[in-house]
């Protein structure tokens, strides 16, 4: 994929992100976790995937990956609308697992999925998205070790965006680098400028090749910045300086890509993004009430009698 295409995807992500914040302010979304600033990391990595065989495991701030993977964005954002926790998109068809809100919790799933893919001989690679904060979780260590012991095709894609809510990465990640942890497991670890979409695309493509060729897992640490608040109920003014925010604003990944493109390409991308935003906004607003009884769906493959009793109200 080339820069115009990547920029176009990033711009869609940026504009939808802004729209989601606006909708939250207008009371149309209960809450939202903005990803502004992380477009290059998310789009650059997800765009490198082969959607016929790879699979991605997101957390709660990966709109850019959803955009790059062509996921139904109304379905994706419906997790923030309060419609359904995992989102309403089709995760199997999209190759994007349901939104996962346990920090680090989905990382070992990628390892299991990768083992399954290898057993099936599909050549598929799993990519798991997590943050600098998530790197502290035991699950991430266990997943790294499992993947390395079995040499599985997994990309551990860490978006080091400088902060885990109010805790800066330097008080979170001892040693200072998530990529540097890879050596301790005997696997590849690379740090990449997470605001350089081509560099991210490149690093991910390499890691995908390594995975497909039986070369085992890769840790990619994309150095980036969460330009907005942690969520729409967060106040970054409590823990970081405007200088820092301004500094990173100068490294805005979308502007940086745009600077290398002809003005008409950028203008066309803006027009496209505006149109996508309109559709998504309309789709979100059109999302209706949930059908009665949906609460009881999907708990089991077939509902148990006890659950049907509860639904029928024989237990009030």
């Amino acid at each position: 994929m080339d820069l115009p295409e990547l920029h176009r995807l990033m711009l869609v992500a940026r504009r939808i992100d802004e729209e989601a914040i606006a909708m939250q302010r207008q009371g149309e979304l209960p809450g939202y976790a903005p990803m502004k600033g992380q477009e290059a990391a998310q789009v650059g990595s997800a765009a490198a995937l082969d959607l016929t065989r790879d699979f991605a495991f997101p957390n709660y701030r990966d709109l850019g990956a959803a955009v790059a993977m062509g996921v139904d964005l109304v379905g994706y954002l419906s997790t923030h609308l309060g419609t359904w926790h995992g989102g309403m998109y089709d995760p199997q068809a999209s190759r994007l697992a349901p939104v996962n809100a346990v920090v680090g919790g989905a990382v070992p799933h990628a390892v299991g999925w990768a083992m399954g893919a290898r057993l099936d001989g599909t050549g598929g690679v799993a990519i798991t998205y997590f943050g600098d904060g998530a790197s502290s979780q035991g699950d991430v260590h266990e997943a790294l070790n499992f993947a390395a012991v079995y040499r599985l095709p997994v990309i551990f894609f860490c978006q080091n965006n400088g902060w885990a809510i109010s805790v800066p990465a330097e008080r979170q990640v001892a040693g200072g680098s998530v990529a540097a942890r890879a050596a301790g497991y005997g696997i590849e670890g690379v740090r990449v400028d997470g605001n350089d979409v081509l560099a991210v695309f490149e690093a991910t493509s390499e890691a995908l090749c390594r995975g497909r060729d039986g070369g085992g897992p890769t840790v990619i640490e994309a150095m980036t910045y969460r330009m907005g608040p942690h969520s729409t109920s967060d106040d970054p003014g409590r823990y970081r300086t405007l200088e820092e925010e301004r500094e990173w604003a100068e490294r805005d990944p979308v502007a940086r890509a745009a600077a290398n493109l002809p003005a008409e390409v950028v203008a066309e991308a803006e027009a496209h993004a505006a149109q996508v935003v309109r559709q998504v906004r309309e789709g979100l607003i059109a999302t209706g009430e949930r059908p009665a009884g949906e609460l009881f769906s999907f708990v089991y493959r077939e509902p148990t009698k006890a659950l049907l009793d509860q639904q029928r109200g024989s237990h009030v």
Partner: protein
């Protein structure tokens, strides 16, 4: 007397606990400079310094494991887990270590740890941010479990929990954080032993038993029922372990009917324990089986379905009616 929200009352309790005992340490994710995502620890790091009030890396098991070690070194840890659903990564340390070190060491090490957990639902939150873990915790020998329903209760129960020599799981009803009430934190408190319940509203036709935010729900129901001449007694259980079996029995012996209300799913919820205790002690007096009005046996749903999940006024009223109209089959 001044007005406090629950969030402010808890903040004050933490402040006073730190002032009264310089072995008290407060830590967890974002509890320092930010003051916690619910601001319950707001201003404490500025007051007591970052040696006594500090942020941890993002790892709940590590937080509880560190609390154990600090307690072994003679400190009095008051860790926070940011949301109920993120207690699960810490369960191993809580069950296998926190709850047992006093026992394992034959009393050599006390574990005066108070784990604060913003708990329960009702705020249209993302997944894992609305869970009720009281049944799990109450089942674990060595733990005590408590949940306040009002700012005044919150203040005193938190002080009492921190002063307690045993580990206490302190479940804060997050949907009540912003509700205000007048109380005097300086007033001498009746020295209530751990494990007492509280009659939040007296009545004679049936007893509603609840904790946390469901106490408010039951008070609303009692208000409505009173309009029809039905006088419901509302018992705020408060201590979920140990449970005030005597207090419950005293109330139900008078009213002869009981409904227990909680947010957690029905099956193997704490309502079953409450129901069994009440039935055991009031078997001859009970005029109807204890009714349970609870969350359903489904994962806590997204905002759009939350009201359908949580015990509603209607569901509680229906259960009250069922118990009042019950005729032995």
């Amino acid at each position: 007397m001044s007005e406090f929200s629950l969030q402010q009352a808890l903040n004050l309790a933490l402040q006073h606990a730190c002032e009264d005992d310089d072995r008290v340490l407060i830590f967890g994710e974002d509890v320092g400079g930010l003051g916690g995502v619910f601001r319950v620890t707001d201003g404490l790091q500025a007051k007591f310094g970052d040696r006594r009030v500090f942020d941890t890396p993002l790892a709940e098991s590590g937080i509880m494991g560190m609390a154990v070690g600090l307690a072994m070194a003679g400190w009095r840890p008051v860790p926070e887990v940011q949301f109920d659903g993120f207690s699960y990564p810490a369960i191993d340390q809580i069950v296998n270590q926190v709850a047992r070190l006093h026992y394992r060491s034959r009393g050599s090490f006390a574990m005066p740890i108070t784990l604060r957990v913003p708990s329960f639902g009702g705020i249209r939150a993302p997944e894992h941010h609305s869970e009720s873990l009281e049944a799990l915790f109450a089942h674990v020998p060595g733990l005590k479990v408590v949940s306040p329903s009002t700012p005044g209760e919150g203040y005193h129960l938190l002080r009492q929990s921190i002063a307690d020599p045993d580990p206490v799981i302190f479940l804060e009803p997050k949907s009540r954080y912003w509700h205000r009430e007048s109380f005097d934190p300086g007033a001498p408190v009746e020295p209530l032993p751990v494990g007492t319940s509280r009659i939040a509203r007296p009545g004679k036709h049936a007893t509603l038993i609840a904790w946390g935010a469901m106490v408010t729900r039951c008070l609303q129901v009692a208000e409505l029922a009173a309009e029809d001449g039905v006088e419901l007694e509302v018992v705020d259980l408060r201590w979920l372990k140990p449970i005030d079996a005597d207090g419950l029995a005293a109330s139900v012996s008078r009213t002869r009917r009981a409904v227990v209300v909680h947010e957690a799913p029905l099956t193997a919820g704490l309502g079953a324990e409450v129901s069994t205790l009440v039935t055991d002690r009031c078997f001859g007096e009970l005029r109807a089986p204890v009714q349970r009005v609870t969350g359903f046996d489904v994962p806590y749903p997204s905002g759009a379905l939350e009201d359908e999940y949580l015990p509603s006024i209607d569901r509680v009223l229906t259960a009250v009616q069922a118990t009042l109209e019950y005729r032995r089959g």
